[in-house]
């Protein structure tokens, strides 16, 4: 079951981590915000996209495909591939790789086509 794996990953938490030291780059992150993924509170930073914040929290499955119910995740990060469509504050088919993270935003996995 996908959900079980997800919970386990969330607890271990270090599947994908924030880079703190880097030989070239320094990351100036915005203020920390709390958002909700499938009802669970997660932390992210203003200035990043919802997709980035989810990956940083170890979330890999963003939605399930329409016909075969296959898990889909982050892929292109530039708003071109539609792999990351999710329900954001009740609005389906939101490309979370382009959607900025906001305080309190509610993000849910989408199954198949979104219902408007």
């Amino acid at each position: 079951m996908p959900e079980k794996t997800f919970k386990r990953k969330l607890r271990s938490g270090d599947e994908a981590t924030r880079i703190t030291e880097h030989p070239i780059l320094s990351f100036t992150r915005g203020p920390e915000v709390t958002f909700y993924f499938e009802g669970r509170p997660l932390k992210g930073y203003l200035g990043e996209t919802i997709a980035a914040a989810l990956v940083a929290n170890g979330v890999r499955v963003f939605r399930y495909s329409e016909r075969h119910n296959r898990p889909r995740g982050f892929f292109c990060a530039v708003g071109k591939c539609s792999s990351c469509l999710m329900i954001v504050d009740g609005r389906p088919n939101t490309m979370v790789c382009m959607e900025p993270l906001r305080e309190g935003v509610r993000v849910e996995r989408q199954k198949g086509r979104g219902k408007i």
């Binding site: 996908p2 794996t5 997800f6 599947e15 994908a16 981590t17 924030r18 880079i19 703190t20 030291e21 880097h22 030989p23 070239i24 780059l25 990351f27 992150r29 990043e48 996209t49 980035a52 990956v55 940083a56 890999r60 499955v61 963003f62 495909s65 296959r70 898990p71 889909r72 995740g73 982050f74 892929f75 292109c76 990060a77 530039v78 708003g79 071109k80 591939c81 792999s83 790789c97 382009m98 900025p100």
Partner: protein
């Protein structure tokens, strides 16, 4: 509530990467009223995640990191007073010369006299079992996560493709503290610059030529990969499968030009493999088969940022001349940029594009019909 606006500009530019920015700088400096549209919150296109230093000559920023070039070009464009519309997607084109621009809460119809399309390219995928599994990422996406947001995409990565993007992103993954288990390359030789490959090899990353990925393993996300050897005809060799424990598979297998907008406008689209697949036909002044519509950068043939900058200059100067008449400054910019382009394309990595462009220009007669 979405509100609708109508605006007009002399030269509209779609895309704020190196090509679009350079086109805007040149066009605005030559006296045209320019409006540049980009769907991202910041300008620079793919430069904003390129931490490596560029090769080439001074005039296209050799020795400067991509992230810094983005800033230099943006400052230069802003200083011209060009109108910049961010967070806005060009969702369509209406006859005769209207762009439909969708922002988060607004819809704008932008009419233009001349149009420069610099929409870039999108990541390719390749066929293998489970290639849609979460954890299979495009190389550009990995760069965005790592270099823009400072997030590691995983712990152990398999890189597919040894072109410059594959090699550079592998090195950047190491810099970010991620293990690169291997780089696989279908061809019998490494695709990118030797200096990049040597850096990886020194750090112990195996680059396996004549190898490809056969399957991604895992149920909800990647937990492994199966790779295998290929023969000279690029067919998998039985019994050579190897299982790798990885949590991320990064695809650096090329880009395809984003020609949808040009196709909708009615530009003649042609298939030139050396340029990345389907491209809008254009001449060496970068004008397409629809008069007044120009292309620049990866959308005109997948290449690199320095050539995108040069093509942007040519398209920008030509658009201005066709609008405001011939002008010595514009002519000079075009001549210089064309000379530099042909120099770059004489190099070992420009050869392919040079061949593709030659084939494209030879199609001249076809498009006149």
């Amino acid at each position: 509530m979405a509100k609708e606006q109508i605006k007009h500009t002399q030269i509209a530019i779609v895309g704020g990467g190196p090509a679009g920015l350079s086109a805007g700088i040149v066009a605005a400096k030559l006296g045209a009223r320019v409006c540049l549209i980009d769907d991202n919150p910041r300008l620079g296109g793919q430069l904003v995640k390129q931490t490596h230093k560029f090769f080439g000559s001074k005039s296209h920023y050799c020795g400067t990191r991509g992230i810094d070039i983005a800033r230099i070009l943006e400052d230069e464009l802003r200083a011209t007073g060009c109108e910049i519309i961010l967070n806005t997607t060009c969702i369509g084109h209406f006859r005769p010369n209207i762009l439909g621009l969708a922002g988060a809460e607004s819809f704008t119809k932008l009419t233009y006299d001349r149009l420069i399309v610099a929409t870039g390219a999108s990541e390719n995928n390749i066929l293998f079992e489970n290639n849609d599994l979460p954890g299979v990422y495009g190389a550009g996406a990995v760069q965005t996560l790592m270099n823009v947001y400072g997030i590691r995409p995983g712990k152990r990565v398999l890189m597919v493709g040894s072109g410059n993007i594959g090699l550079i992103v592998s090195y950047q993954l190491l810099q970010a503290g991620v293990e690169v288990v291997a780089v696989v390359e279908a061809l019998p030789r490494i695709g990118g610059y030797h200096v990049h490959a040597a850096k990886l090899r020194r750090l112990g990353v195996p680059i396996l030529v004549s190898h490809t990925i056969k399957a991604a393993l895992g149920k909800d996300s990647v937990t492994g990969a199966i790779i295998c050897r290929l023969n000279k005809r690029l067919e998998p060799l039985k019994g050579t499968e190897k299982r790798l424990k990885v949590d991320t598979i990064c695809l650096a297998v090329g880009l395809s030009p984003l020609v949808e907008l040009l196709s909708q406008i009615g530009c003649q689209i042609v298939y030139i493999p050396e340029l990345g697949g389907l491209v809008a036909w254009h001449n060496d002044d970068l004008e397409t088969s629809v008069p007044g519509v120009y292309v620049a950068g990866d959308v005109s043939g997948v290449e690199e940022a320095s050539t995108a900058i040069l093509e942007g200059r040519i398209a920008g100067a030509n658009a201005v001349m066709s609008l405001l008449g011939k002008n010595n400054d514009a002519e000079r910019i075009i001549q210089e940029a064309k000379r530099e382009l042909s120099l770059i394309r004489q190099g070992p990595f420009g050869e392919k594009v040079a061949k593709g462009k030659k084939r494209l220009y030879a199609l001249n007669q076809l498009t006149q019909a």
